[in-house]
């Protein structure tokens, strides 16, 4: 690879690409010349920074974050329990398969509309985040548990290793990589589905609700600013959860 070729693999090249994209966006906004149809990045960022100074922004962030996090946590625990059950009992896997297939194939919007009949808008995003993430984590956890080394399991049987030591010594190292990669995919999905539920459910006081209001009042700068805030919150949440999970897995394995 030549010197020029190598440049395109450096962080500088990525920065240039981002700046160029922002430039194209700004030029497009200037060309359209109508703030009701398209606002540029400067206006969107300006709105974002002004939102940071408002108490309602932080309240909405907390509202959505707490619900998405709770939905994810419940899905994580349920997926782990169900995967352990399915790994131990083949009948459980067969009986669970239709539910997992249904959740994976039905569109989020359908679930949101159905769930609105049973739940208040304020709880909707917990349920939808839970539902969308559950099959992804369940499939990965099951695969991870199945990848545990059969020869080590034989060794554990001969030495009559206790369940906790089997978990730390054999299952966690097998589960770890599957768990981290599934969570990486699921965390983003969790936010998208949770916010979509808030938008469809017109959940006031939430980030999704703010997006809905921006659309209703044709405040395009708010729409972009809230979208930017959601992307940032989702990325920060993903980093925090993956970091905590990696630390926790390492601690549990190392507690021998």
């Amino acid at each position: 690879m030549g010197r020029r070729g190598r440049f395109w693999h450096t962080p500088w090249a990525k920065l240039i690409a981002i700046l160029l994209a922002l430039g194209v966006w700004q030029l497009a906004a200037a060309a359209v010349g109508n703030r009701l149809l398209l606002v540029g990045p400067v206006a969107a960022l300006g709105k974002f920074f002004s939102l940071l100074g408002e108490g309602a922004f932080w309240a909405a962030l907390w509202f959505t974050l707490s619900r998405v996090a709770l939905g994810f946590l419940l899905a994580f625990l349920a997926a782990l329990a169900l995967a352990a059950l399915a790994a131990g009992f083949p009948a459980a896997e067969v009986l669970l398969a239709p539910y997992m297939a249904a959740v994976k194939s039905v569109p989020v919007a359908s679930f949101v509309v159905m769930a609105l009949l049973w739940l208040s808008g304020r709880r909707l995003s917990i349920f939808i985040s839970f539902l969308i993430v559950l099959p992804v984590l369940y499939a990965a956890f099951l695969q991870g548990l199945r990848s545990a080394d059969g020869r080590l399991l034989e060794m554990a049987r001969v030495f009559r290793m206790g369940p906790w030591n089997r978990l730390r010594g054999i299952y966690l190292p097998a589960l770890g990589p599957y768990c981290l990669s599934a969570c990486r995919a699921a965390l983003g999905m969790c936010w998208k589905a949770g916010v979509a539920a808030e938008v469809i459910g017109v959940c006031s006081g939430s980030m999704g609700g703010k997006l809905y209001n921006a659309k209703v009042y044709l405040e395009l700068d708010s729409l972009f600013a809230w979208t930017f805030a959601i992307v940032l919150a989702s990325a920060a949440f993903e980093r925090a959860v993956l970091g905590a999970l990696g630390w926790l897995l390492g601690r549990m394995e190392g507690l021998a």
Binding site: R151, L152, E154, M155, V158, F159, R160, G169, E253, G254
Partner: protein, 194 residues
């Protein structure tokens, strides 16, 4: 109590590996399981350990507690030698480091992940695990693999020192391993086609 094997047979995919084997192993006795590859040495060990079910015959009086050194080390790769001992034999306590030292494992190697140990070092950890486990029967499948002559003699001494009243089963393809562990009798295994 004796371990009694009667008319034991086992085949894989229609090919007989063990056929009509009968013998009695009194508690505390030492046995060699000798023979060329494919004669069913490891299969017999797996049947005794309860890891496989026989196609015919029976094994009666197998002790409740058994310990094994498998043909492969079967160590928890991400963990240290000491952690491997603690996880498999939690009651080993302070005997673990002492036994590893007795087998010739250097102190700094005891706390390294076993994935970073040499073949011979890892073999010693697996042997220590088997010796530390509370059991009435000790099954060793090619225990001296990867060990040089000095380490082999050291390992044999440690096995004899820690054997106690356990029944010993030694799988090996080398006749000269038998006297190292004071073994004078062998379970007669023959190629099933003979």
């Amino acid at each position: 109590m004796s371990l009694v094997i009667r008319e034991l047979s086992k085949s894989y995919g229609g090919t007989p590996v063990i056929s009509g084997l009968s013998c009695t192993l009194p508690q505390g006795s030492r046995w060699g399981i000798l023979g060329p590859s494919g004669v069913g040495k490891t299969t017999l060990l797996r049947l005794i350990l309860g890891l496989e079910q026989p196609d015919g015959g029976s094994i009666a009086g197998a002790p409740e507690k058994m310990a094994a050194l498998f043909q492969e080390n079967r160590l928890l790769e991400g963990h240290s030698a000491l952690a491997n001992l603690r996880l498999a034999v939690p009651r080993a306590g302070e005997r673990g480091p002492a036994l590893l030292a007795e087998l010739g494992l250097e102190e700094e190697s005891m706390t390294k992940a076993v994935s970073g140990l040499s073949g011979g070092q890892a073999r010693r950890v697996a042997l220590a695990r088997a010796l530390l486990a509370e059991s009435q029967l000790l099954a060793l499948d090619e225990p001296f693999t990867g060990l040089d002559d000095a380490a082999r003699a050291r390992a044999a001494e440690a096995i004899l020192r820690h054997l106690g009243g356990r029944t010993l089963l030694l799988v090996t393809h080398r006749q000269e391993d038998l006297p190292l562990l004071g073994i004078r009798q062998c379970i007669p295994l023959f190629p099933a086609s003979e």
